[in-house]
Symmetry: none
Subunit: 257 residues, 2 copies
Amino acid sequence: MELPSLTPGQYSLVYNFMSIAIAAFLATFVYFIFGREQVGRKYRKALLTSGIVVGIAAYHYFRILHSFAEAYVFDVQLGEYIASGKPFNDAYRYADWLITVPLLLVELIQVMALDRQKSRRLISILTIAAVFMLITGYFGEVRREDAELFSLRGLWGFLSTIGFVVILVTLFKEIKDAMNRESGRVGILLRNIGLLTFFAWGFYPIVYMAPFFGWDGGQTEAVIQVGYSMADIIAKAGYGLMIFAIAREKTLEEQAE
Amino acid sequence: MELPSLTPGQYSLVYNFMSIAIAAFLATFVYFIFGREQVGRKYRKALLTSGIVVGIAAYHYFRILHSFAEAYVFDVQLGEYIASGKPFNDAYRYADWLITVPLLLVELIQVMALDRQKSRRLISILTIAAVFMLITGYFGEVRREDAELFSLRGLWGFLSTIGFVVILVTLFKEIKDAMNRESGRVGILLRNIGLLTFFAWGFYPIVYMAPFFGWDGGQTEAVIQVGYSMADIIAKAGYGLMIFAIAREKTLEEQAE
């Protein structure tokens, strides 16, 4: 894949967003790992998983940022950042998602504190759907030259969306059941985490479709990188904070009883 | 923005101050995270937040120092450090403040241990004011060529100051109420943290105005970098130490009761 040139503004925007993502992941890593004592014993596993997810994400973002910086060199004559010849390794994102997406789903199941058999069954279905979604998505992602919806990129994207829909339908059914069981504030938080999953995860397919919008190469590249970084911050750090809030609320309720 | 040349003395001063900042942030990170057991359970969240703030600051100072070192090269003939052509990424400071300033405010609210509803309301007001202050400040900061008070830099700075005043007025009212509730030593500590916020945070706008003082480019650059580093050490590590002292004092009082 040929890397498009970037204006200094586009380059800085991507670079700084990736750096903010690292800071957000490191901050929430410390918060989830050392804040476990704030919640009851049975919710600590969910916080540990949240911490692992943002920890892995911080690691991958260090690599993505480094790879991005190495892939470009500033051309003084053009006043632009041009491809240095070293490839930009976008596969880090998919490697990251392949590990973190199933863990994010596990986190949510853990904080619901369902019985063990049901948990195991749900985790199996969700993991299979997630892996299917990511592998098909990856095959489409590497075909960035497909600039039309009805292309191989479009087809792989469609297959990937099937996995996403399976995850959403499975989760929403479970969240609805849990909301009926839970009282006021926990119910609201569960509804919010359902909405967050829908909107934050739904943002990825939109970013994936960026090449179809007919922007120039630099714009498309900047939108994809900033878009994925923003989506990752919300879907990992933000999601983890909501898991924390649910665990904390349930702990307070159980202490009150 | 053209980077001004620096004398070896100016370069070392900036470099060493940034390095001292990193050491101070890493030291206090360890102290806040592993010193949590020194304080009662309800104050541990405040210490965790303090730890996260200095941890994020340490990350950003690594990046700032690296970016500063890359942006200069020593010219043997001139005997000066001249711009290497790689841009110095000043945006790290604002990225850092955008995350840490709201957290510093959260820290103070947490250590006051107010009721949950009041805490949430205060945090909302303070966060909005802080984000406004930083975004308007950033737009002015990138206009370093504006060397007069009545310029766009001056105007953005003025808007930013409105956010700062909202924060101060809100905080001082809250600190005054808390001082009336609290006994001797905790009251004094709360007054001190109010003064620290006023003076340490008030130092930033003074540094921001450095380009208006008519110094040469190298002097202005050195004053801005050293000034911001000093202000960050006091406002993050020093502030966190005072939060620690308040939490410790309150814990001792509660144990005595």
